[in-house]
């Protein structure tokens, strides 16, 4: 189990005749998703657009997105993993007991209908939101759904994609990966990147009180993190780069106002399918961009003596190679 079978959004626009949204509410959270990419578009392969596509919504409650769906499946809260596992069994014609299906809040007819439709699709796509990835089971739910998508390829073309949001979080992921090998939760305290979500994630480092300074760009942890993490941010020198006054900037020692990305600062943002999009700002800003501020801080640091005592390499810089 593992990996990710996915595509860019243009493939969905062009080919997906069967779309499942699972644990997400795009009508309210990604309002352009239906019209630009998934269900409304006509294409060479789906000339009648919406009529050529089937959309299924799986969620614990009937959100606004249910109106756009052909089929709404209301799963019992916390039973997503069970439902995905049942689907994985049924696509392979393995027996599943009625009571196990009933536990998910659905009946056999609905689940078997879903399996039939999935297998009958020419190109299926599953989008999953935080209702799947951040509820009971968390990353296990995501892994199960990604595995279901991979296994569906034994029958027809199938892909899956997380419904990411929060500005350019995908871009941060992509760049951290090419520079360090890891997407987030990285510690440099041994001089090279190490990864352990739950230990090195920002919230964990703050709650333990491990860091003695914080430098925050384009995020507002003061609004979302648990109180002990916020308390620590207030205790240490916290520097915030943000166009706006935020919960975090209010508790920071320093707030540098920067130009907002995409509105008055150029750059690149990565879409949820990891495609890079150039930003062309419409307005000018009297404030510097994040990039310029960071560059000037770097230049100032470069003028100071190097942090290692002799300015030279440390004695253990080339650690021994593990034989493969």
């Amino acid at each position: 189990m593992g990996g990710k079978v996915t595509c860019t959004l243009g493939e969905v626009k062009q080919r997906a005749d069967f779309i499942i949204y699972w644990g997400g509410n795009p009508a309210e959270c990604h309002p352009r998703h239906f019209t630009k990419y998934t269900i409304m578009q006509k294409s060479k392969f789906l000339p009648r657009g919406r009529k050529d596509r089937t959309m299924v919504l799986v969620d614990i409650r009937e959100t606004k997105s249910a109106k756009a769906a052909d089929i709404f499946l209301q799963v019992r809260p916390g039973k997503d993993f069970e439902l995905i596992t049942i689907l994985r069994a049924l696509i392979k014609d393995q027996p599943v007991r009625d009571e196990d299906i009933a536990e998910t809040g659905l009946d056999r007819a609905a689940v078997e209908d879903l399996v039939r439709r999935m297998k009958g699709a020419k190109f299926g796509c599953m989008f999953f939101g935080m209702g799947l990835s951040m509820t009971r089971g968390k990353h296990m739910n995501s892994a199960a759904l990604l595995t279901l998508a991979a296994e569906m390829n034994a029958f027809t073309k199938f892909v899956a994609m997380p419904m990411r949001g929060h500005g350019n979080v995908t871009g941060a992921d992509v760049i951290m990966r090419w520079q360090t090998g890891y997407p987030f939760g990285i510690s440099f305290n041994r001089g090279y990147p190490r990864y352990n979500p739950g230990e090195f994630s920002t919230v964990d480092v703050l709650v333990r009180g491990d860091c003695d300074a914080a430098f925050i760009i384009g995020a507002d942890p003061g609004a979302t993190m648990p109180q002990p993490a916020i308390d620590h941010l207030a205790r240490i020198p916290t520097i915030v780069l943000d166009p706006h006054i935020t919960h975090t900037s209010r508790l920071a020692r320093v707030h540098i106002t920067t130009a907002p990305q995409g509105i008055s600062a150029p750059g690149t943002a990565y879409r949820m399918d990891e495609l890079p999009m150039p930003l062309s700002p419409a307005l000018k800003s009297p404030y510097p961009t994040d990039e310029e501020v960071v560059r000037r801080i770097n230049e100032a640091i470069a003028k100071k003596p190097f942090w290692l005592p002799d300015g030279g390499p440390s004695p253990h810089q080339w650690t021994s190679q593990v034989n493969l």
């Binding site: 090419w178 520079q179 090279y192 990891e274 495609l275 999009m277 190679q321």
Partner: protein, 547 residues
């Protein structure tokens, strides 16, 4: 200014085979006749090569970055690069991080690499990654053999139009040349199919076949006067019996230049995994009688790695065979991408055949100007393991030792035990530097003549060949000593090579409506701006006068 004295120079382009000469480098980073003053490096008893050139590798972009995400377990056990005053931190391993990639390549004397598979849609990302690979110079190739707008022109027999469309795409990607991966097959994979026969119309088309894509792309690259010919990953990669497809493909390239990528993966006989065997003899013979072709071996080395390719259907098969993690990314209108971690084992007969086949091609293709060192990094093994291959090429005795580890039932399926050839140092310099530089059309790379880029590597001559090539004594990049006594001393920024092919200005208006029909971004935002490339080295291409 630098003068390197007393070293034995191996410069295949000039036919210098180990003669002791001085080598002089001026302040602009070029090789010159003579210099007065400056640093003198005493290379007495040492061996001097032009800096290595990797003709086919995957070091930057969406695919390798996908592979990095999928292999955290390898990052933790691998070589760590600790930050120093001149170096940034990073990780080595199967899919090294960008900074580490530069240090690792330069650390074994390679100074130019070619990233061999870039979708135009994510070219912006690839260039940003390439800018984060220090020291070495870089080029990148654009995936074109499954681009639906281009294929539509070929389907309609509009050759001229296809040529213009391809030029437009190359310039939009800020690319150095054309890569073709499983022509038509990746397009068919969009609906879960493949393209295995060269003369069967591709899924979704009435007339267009993979064979026609191959011939047309080769012709377009020649007609545009691109410095590097079409760089072809043939159909049917990795499958037993695929030698038939490969030979059939090569036959369609008659009269054109072409580079065949990782040919080891295309040189198998047999009709199933149980009977798979090496058919490198016929493939090598074909290359020996066709000087219009070059290839890189795509050697397989035993151990863990991660396979990454635009060949989506093959990766689905590999996932089914191994049951390991599977990453897949279909890229709208253009191409696909698949990732599967893989372990090559000597006890596995298929893997053993693959291991032997790569070496066989390097040993049986007679002209080292035609066959180059590669592992199709990271597919057959990681690039930092090249010195292992060099040792096997230079020592038949060492190969015999390695062969002892293979199961007996492999022996009848491979040719390697019969091969006694041993590469000379001059031949190694050809296969790892001069040859690939010439195939890439990089006239100022891969040699040490006056006017060449001063990319020089100095090795201490040793009996242990692997040790010798793993740890050069000095590496000089563009006239700067970047590595000395086993340590990276400087990490300057390298260049990126780009071509600007001739193009009908009306092409933009022709493509716009087709683009808007199938893509999901703004037309104006699609081409990568030249200003986004750090240190571009731009070459305008003109069609050759004879055509």
């Amino acid at each position: 200014m630098i003068r390197i004295t007393g070293g034995k120079i191996y410069d295949p382009a000039q036919g210098i085979d180990g003669q002791v000469r001085d080598l002089c480098i001026d302040d602009t980073g070029k090789i010159v006749e003579t210099v007065s003053g400056g640093r003198i490096i005493d290379a007495t008893g040492m061996v001097i090569f032009p800096g290595g050139v990797d003709v086919h590798t995957h070091v930057a972009g969406g695919a390798i970055n996908f592979a990095r995400a999928m292999t955290p377990e390898d990052h933790r056990r691998t070589q760590a690069f600790i930050r120093t005053k001149t170096r940034r931190s990073g990780l080595g391993g199967m899919a090294p991080t960008t900074f580490a990639t530069g240090y690792l390549y330069a650390g074994m004397g390679f100074t130019t690499v070619n990233e061999a598979a870039v979708p135009v849609l994510s070219a912006r990302h690839t260039h940003e990654e390439l800018a984060d690979i220090p020291i070495i110079d870089k080029a990148s190739l654009t995936l074109m053999a499954n681009n639906e707008i281009l294929l539509e022109q070929l389907e309609q027999g509009e050759y001229e139009r296809a040529k213009q469309v391809l030029s437009w795409y190359l310039w939009a990607a800020k690319s150095y040349g054309v890569k073709a991966v499983n022509p038509g097959g990746v397009k068919a994979w969009k609906y879960g199919h493949d393209a295995k026969a060269l003369d069967t119309p591709i899924d979704g088309y009435h007339r267009l076949t993979p064979g026609q894509i191959v011939t047309n792309l080769a012709r377009i690259c020649d007609d545009l006067g691109l410095p590097h010919p079409v760089h072809l990953h043939c159909n049917n990669l990795g499958a037993p019996g695929n030698i038939t497809t490969t030979l059939d493909t090569l036959a369609r390239l008659e009269g054109h230049r072409a580079h065949i990528a990782h040919s080891q993966y295309h040189a198998y006989g047999g009709d199933g995994w149980d009977t798979m065997c090496s058919e490198t003899t016929v493939l090598a013979e074909y290359f020996n009688s066709h000087p219009n072709l070059t290839t890189d071996a795509g050697v397989v080395l035993f151990g863990d790695t991660v396979t990454i390719t635009a060949d989506g259907p093959w990766q689905h098969l590999l996932y089914k065979l191994t049951g390991r993690k599977w990453g897949n990314l279909d890229v709208e209108n253009e191409t696909g991408c698949g990732i599967v971690p893989y372990t090559y084992r000597p006890s596995n007969v298929v893997n053993a055949v693959q291991w032997a086949a790569g070496l066989e091609l390097l040993l049986m293709i007679r002209d080292p100007w035609q066959v180059f060192l590669s592992t199709d990094h990271p597919n057959g093994g990681c690039f930092w393991r090249y010195p292992e291959i060099i040792q096997m090429l230079m020592s038949a005795e060492f190969r015999r030792e390695c062969l002892k580890k293979l199961p007996d039932r492999v022996k009848s399926r491979i040719k390697l035990p019969e091969l006694d050839r041993e590469y000379t140092l001059l031949e190694i310099a050809t296969a790892m530097s001069a040859g690939p530089a010439r195939a890439l059309g990089l006239t100022h790379k891969g040699h040490l003549g006056v006017g060449a880029d001063a990319d020089v590597v100095v090795y201490e001559e040793q009996v242990d060949i692997q040790q010798m090539f793993s740890h050069p004594r000095y590496v000089i990049k563009a006239g700067e000593v970047v590595l000395e006594d086993g340590d990276i001393r400087e990490a300057p920024q390298g260049k990126e090579f780009l071509v600007r092919p001739a193009m009908d200005p009306a092409t933009n208006d022709f493509i716009r409506p087709l683009f808007e029909d199938c893509y999901t971004m703004k037309f104006e935002h699609y081409p990568v701006e030249l200003e986004r490339i750090e240190h571009p080295d731009l070459r305008d291409c003109q069609p050759p006068a004879t055509s």
